[in-house]
Subunit: 206 residues, 2 copies
DNA sequence: GTCTATAGGAGGATAGAC
DNA sequence: GTCTATCCTCCTATAGAC
């Protein structure tokens, strides 16, 4: 294991290079997915933006859908990791923290939002176990916090937990964020504060 | 004007037929736009659904974008008419009524939501005076109600009116509505009540 | 203005050399 | 695995007869 370690090291290095390229592809796809959506994004564009030939991209991902799905899986894994590493806290505080984090991602253009519309990508993702496992994992975590926060009287207990969950998910693709950003009247911190307030405290005065 | 009225009547009838066909095209486009979005909708599909040849459709609208823009203009005009005919009432009540109406349209699949993403359609609409005039008209009306409701202490006065306006507009493309509908656990009235509650009262308990 | 038929082009995917 | 070059399908848009 000592003398013939050169070869394994070389292979590992090569594999790392491949992995790095694949990461670059996914990251670029993720960005374009966030910018223009699945239908408007072209594979040519992704390849050009990464700086490789389209055929090379197709060695990594067998279809445009696979590529997009990989990007979505990555976001989901990122969310899982974020939740796992989140310092303990009160359920309501955790939910607020996660909502804010989600909006920050969206504002930075790092949130490839799944088209709400009918899309072939949708079916692909539902059939993707990596994505679905991640989604269920995240939903379980958030769902537990939601129910705890409701039990503690911090979240409106009249709302079904599933409605609260979806409302939080929807913050990841909230057009209000980009509209306010386009307006240019407020910085990102102000925008997030406003949307956080309307989400948790509501539009009606308290 | 009495004797030669046959000819004008004939022309008017012909024009009515044309108008009716154009209405059918726009309505179909509107529905497909709501279902699949601009990019995924095809002109073949619209023509087939209306029951005419694609070339005939292109006699009415010179491009796919024009067609989609016409559908968006129609929705905007519908909103203008709705606001114009709304019985008078307290500003806060008006806002709630309009929000509910918007969600009902969305749930019925009659709300062709403008893609939030970068789209050629976006530029087209911004350049379309009919659309922009309608948008400004609607925004002025809602904006006045928002400020009045804030002055009366019914809407959170810490939120800029523009943020409240955008939040209301966003109800027209809220994915929470369709997610809850897909879940099948609640009827449309319940769904609307839940989203209305989370929008106005917020997720946090009161 | 409506049709059938087709041009024209974009974009997803592949062949085959290296 | 990466490239260049190419295929092929789908979709927007138009030509031309009626």
């Amino acid at each position: 294991m000592a003398m013939n370690s050169a070869s394994p090291a070389k292979v590992s290095f090569k594999a790392q290079m491949l992995q790095a390229r694949e990461d670059a592809i996914i990251q670029t796809a993720s960005r374009l997915l966030a910018e223009k959506g699945f239908e408007a994004m072209t594979v040519d564009e992704v390849a050009a933006s990464v700086g490789i030939a389209k055929a090379s991209l197709y060695k990594h991902f067998s279809s445009k859908e696979d590529l997009a799905a990989a990007a979505m899986v990555r976001v989901m894994q990122r969310a899982q990791a974020y939740l796992r590493d989140l310092p303990p806290g009160a359920p309501m505080a955790q939910l607020r923290t996660v909502a804010r984090w989600t909006m920050e991602l969206k504002l930075r253009g790092e949130m490839p939002s799944l088209p709400s519309q009918n899309s072939t990508l949708r079916a692909k993702l539902i059939a993707d176990t990596a994505y679905m496992d991640g989604l269920i994992d995240v939903s379980d975590c958030l769902g537990a916090w939601i129910e705890a926060a409701q039990a503690q009287g911090h979240i409106n207990a009249d709302l079904p937990a599933i409605a609260v969950l979806y409302t939080l998910y929807a913050r990841a693709c909230d057009p209000v964020l980009e509209f306010l950003k386009m307006g240019g009247q407020h910085d990102e911190e102000q925008i997030i504060r406003m949307v956080m307030a309307s989400c948790f405290e509501g539009l009606a005065a308290r």
